[in-house]
Amino acid sequence: MSDRQELMQKIATYDFAITELNLYLDTHPTDKDAKRKLVDFEEKSGILRNDYEEKYGPITFRDTPEKRMRWIRNPWPWDICEED
């Protein structure tokens, strides 16, 4: 696994927990423990995302104005890349 893929896997792991905590909180909005976990994971994912975007290009188009070529370029998420 390349460094890029390893970093993306870490982000995906935090983001999966964030997605599921968010679903739980939709119907249990007062659960403090879940909220605390969500904030913690969002912070950790945010640090990794900044690192990823710095090195490999934007994850969302909102970050693209000066990085258009990096947004467009391969790999797209479904691509198998040379680095594999």
């Binding site: 995906a12 679903l23 797209w76 998420p77």
Partner: protein
């Protein structure tokens, strides 16, 4: 409104193409219990939900299902890369290939194109939530039967 994230919910990296497996997994994309139906079901039903918690959770689950759809599409794409005509024929993928080549098209394992008849949106909270429970149960059963077919 949605904003795309240039990432999969979980990375997909398939080394060996396998068109026979792709044919089966195709049903998770555009089959009767697939991810396309799941996302459209939740994202359609949410408009008539009477409670804010349900509007929120159907929006968020429907969004997550789109992420699942994307992962399944990536799996099919990677399973059908660089195939020879012989491999396509041997896997029984020739009938799919003649219409779509190796493009990812929403259809069931048996080749039936996706139809909105797979889902329901009744504008009634209890009816729609029961539809959702049944749909999740059917999706689970589809996974179990795919596994027990010894192909997956």
């Amino acid at each position: 409104m949605w904003v795309y994230e240039k990432k999969l919910q979980y990375p997909v990296k398939i080394k060996n193409p396998n068109p026979a497996l792709a044919k089966i997994i195709m049903s998770q994309y555009g089959g009767p219990d697939g991810e396309l139906g799941a996302s459209l079901r939740y994202l359609s039903q949410r408009f008539s939900m009477p409670y804010p918690e349900l509007k929120a959770i159907l929006t968020d689950i429907g969004t997550e299902e789109l992420g699942h759809l994307e992962m399944v599409g990536a799996i099919i794409y990677q399973l059908t890369r660089n195939l020879t005509p012989e491999e396509i024929k041997a896997a029984g993928m020739d009938a799919y290939f003649v219409d779509h080549t190796t493009g990812v098209y929403p259809a069931s394992a048996a080749g039936v194109p996706f139809t909105a008849a797979y889902i329901q949106s009744k504008g009634d909270v209890l009816t729609d939530l029961h539809e959702d429970l049944a749909a999740e149960q059917k999706a689970m059963k589809a996974l179990v039967s795919a596994k027990s077919s010894n192909i997956c």
